[in-house]
Symmetry: C2
Subunit: 323 residues, 2 copies
C-alpha cells in the first residue's frame, strides 16, 4: 500500500436537522463517524462552529490529529458556487454564505463544498451501490425530491453549477402546485411535502377518513416516513394510494432521466426510501417501465436502492475532497 | 495555415426523403454541397449506392478527388452503435444495417456514423450558433421531436449509445397517446405528428372548422409546415391554437432540460422551426420560463434558433469524422 493510500479525510453532511461527519481513507473506508444537532437558529457562524467541533471530535475519535487530515469535504442543501459559497439554503436560513472559506479559516484544511444531493450521488458512485459504473443518477425522496447526475465520472450540475434540479422537472403540465411556485413538478407528487399536501386535500376537500389523521395529530405538514409506513402496513386506503402514487411518479421521473441519459444505474435514496425502499422499489421500477423509450434503455439502466444511507453525503463529500 | 487545416472531409445527412452532402474543411467551411432523393424503396444496398454516388459527385464538384478526402461522417435517423450500425430506422425501413462498414468498403474512406439529431446538435456546436459553448441542447421539431445533448464538448447518447430521446420525455402523465405507444411524451404535443392528431380530433370529435382541412385536402397525417404557416398567418383559430400549444410544450421540454442540465445554450431546429422560427421562438421561451428552476438557469441557458438549417446534420457528421 502506497503512502498516499494511508491519507485520511473528513466528510461532513450539513443537514437542516443534523450534522453527520465521517473520517475515512482514499477508498472510502470509514474509520470513525459522529453526529450532532445542526441548530440552524445559531446562524451561519454558530453552525460553522458546531461543524468544526464535530470534525475535531470525530478526528480525535479516529486517532487522526486534525493537522494530519488531507482535506475536508462538505455537502450542504443549497446550490454551491465553485468557490464553496452556498447560494440559498432555505432549511438553514442561509443566503450567499462562504462555507468553504469559513471552514478553511477555522480548521486550516483544504475544503471542498458540494450540493448535498450531488455529494450523495457521488458517494454511491465512488463507494456504494454504483461503484464501478461510469454514469449514475441518484434520486432522493425525502421532504423534497433531490437528485444528482454523474456522467462519465463527473458530477454534472449544469453550465452554471446550480442545475440538476430533478425535483423540478415538470411531469404534469398545469398539474399540482409545487413549493417552488410552478405547477406539475415531480416534487409535487414524489416527496413528503407533495404527499402531505395531497393528504390534506383528501381529508379537507374530499372528506376521506385515514389513520394518518390520528398519526399526524392533524398536522399533515409534519408527515413523517415512519407514520406513512405504519399506515401503509395497516393497509390504510389513503396511505396506500398516496405512497403508491408517489412511487409511480418517482418511477416516471426516473424513467424520463433514463430516456434522456440512459445512465448505467439509477439509485434511490432519501428518508422515504430508507424507510420503505423494499416495498416501494418494484412500484418505482414499474413506473419507469411505463415510460422509458426505447425499452432497451430500461434494461440498461437498472433502478436499485442506495446502500450508504446516512453516510452517502459525507462519503461523497469526502470523495470529492480527494478529487 | 498548417497542412492539417487543408484537409477535406465529406458529411452526409441520410434522411427519409433526401440525401444531403457537403464537402468541407476542418473549420466547417463548405466547399461544395449537393443533394439527391433517398429512394428508401431501393433497400439498404440501393440507398448506400446512392450515398456513394452523391459523395463522388460532390467531391468532384469541390475539385477534391475522392482518395484525397480525409474522412466521411454520416448522420442517420436511427440509434447508432459504436461500430456504425443503424439499429432501427423506421423512415428508411432499416434494422441492424452496417452503414459504416458498407460505405467504407465502397469508398475506401474512414467513416463515422452518428444519430442525425446528435450530428445536427454537434454541427451547431462546432460550426453554428452554439460555437464556443461547452454544453448545448438541440431540439428539432419536425415530423417528430428529436434532440441531441452535447455536454463538456461531447455528444451524450447515454451509457448504451441510444438515449437522448428528448421527444419521449413524459411531460403529461396519462396524457396524449404518442406514436411510441406511451402516453404524454413531449413528441405527442410538440411535433407535426402530434399536431396532426390533435387537429384530426378537433375536426372529427369536436366538429371544428379550420382552413387546414382544405389545405391538407382532408388528410391530416400529411400536415406540412408550409400549410400550418399559411393557416397561422391567416389567423385561423385552430391553427393558432395548435401551433401556440406546440410551441408552449416545446418550451416546457426545453425548460425541463434547462432545469436538469443548465446547458450554455438551447437551440431549436427542424422543419417547423425553419419555417416559423421567428414567430414561434418567443412562445417557446415563454413556455420554458414557466417551468425552469431555479430562475437563474433560465437566464444562463439562452434559447435561440439554429442557424445551419439543412447543413446542420451534414456539417455535424463532418465534424464528428474529424474527432
Amino acid at each position: 500500500m502506497s503512502s498516499k493510500a494511508k491519507r485520511r479525510y473528513a466528510g461532513v453532511d450539513i443537514g437542516g436537522t443534523k450534522l453527520h461527519c465521517v473520517i475515512g481513507d482514499d477508498e472510502g473506508r470509514v474509520i470513525a463517524r459522529a453526529r450532532k444537532k445542526t441548530k440552524p437558529g445559531l446562524g451561519f457562524e454558530g453552525v460553522i462552529a458546531r461543524v468544526c467541533e464535530l470534525v475535531r471530535d470525530t478526528s480525535s475519535e479516529a486517532d487522526v490529529p486534525l493537522g494530519k487530515l488531507a482535506g475536508l469535504g462538505c455537502g450542504a442543501p443549497s446550490p454551491i458556487l465553485p468557490d464553496g459559497t452556498a447560494v440559498n439554503a432555505p432549511n438553514l436560513g442561509w443566503k450567499n454564505v462562504p462555507i468553504a472559506a469559513a471552514l478553511k479559516k477555522e480548521l486550516g484544511l483544504s475544503v471542498r463544498v458540494a450540493n448535498d444531493c450531488d455529494a450523495g450521488t457521488y458517494g454511491e458512485f465512488a463507494h456504494g451501490v454504483a461503484r464501478g459504473k461510469k454514469s449514475v443518477v441518484g434520486l432522493f425522496m425525502g421532504t423534497g425530491l433531490g437528485g444528482g447526475l454523474v456522467i462519465d465520472g463527473k458530477v454534472q450540475s449544469g453550465g452554471n453549477g446550480i442545475a440538476a434540479e430533478v425535483g423540478h422537472m415538470v411531469v404534469m403540465v398545469d398539474g399540482r402546485r409545487c413549493g417552488c411556485g410552478h405547477r406539475g413538478c415531480l416534487e409535487a407528487y414524489a416527496s413528503k411535502t407533495g404527499m402531505a399536501r395531497y393528504l390534506a386535500c383528501q381529508v379537507h376537500c374530499e372528506g376521506r377518513k385515514t389513520l394518518l389523521t390520528e398519526l399526524c395529530e392533524g398536522d399533515y405538514s409534519r408527515l413523517r416516513s415512519s407514520v406513512l409506513q405504519k399506515a401503509y402496513e395497516q393497509n390504510d386506503e389513503v396511505a396506500v394510494e398516496i405512497l403508491n402514487g408517489a412511487a409511480r411518479y418517482l418511477g416516471i421521473g426516473a424513467g424520463n432521466l433514463i430516456t434522456l441519459l440512459a445512465p448505467d444505474m439509477v439509485f434511490l435514496g432519501g428518508g422515504v426510501m430508507e424507510a420503505m425502499g423494499e416495498t416501494l422499489l418494484p412500484l418505482v421500477q414499474a413506473g419507469a417501465k411505463e415510460v422509458v423509450f426505447p425499452a432497451a434503455s430500461f434494461e440498461h439502466s437498472k433502478i436499485v436502492l442506495g446502500t450508504l444511507e446516512d453516510d452517502a453525503v459525507a462519503l461523497g463529500a469526502l470523495a470529492l475532497a480527494l478529487g
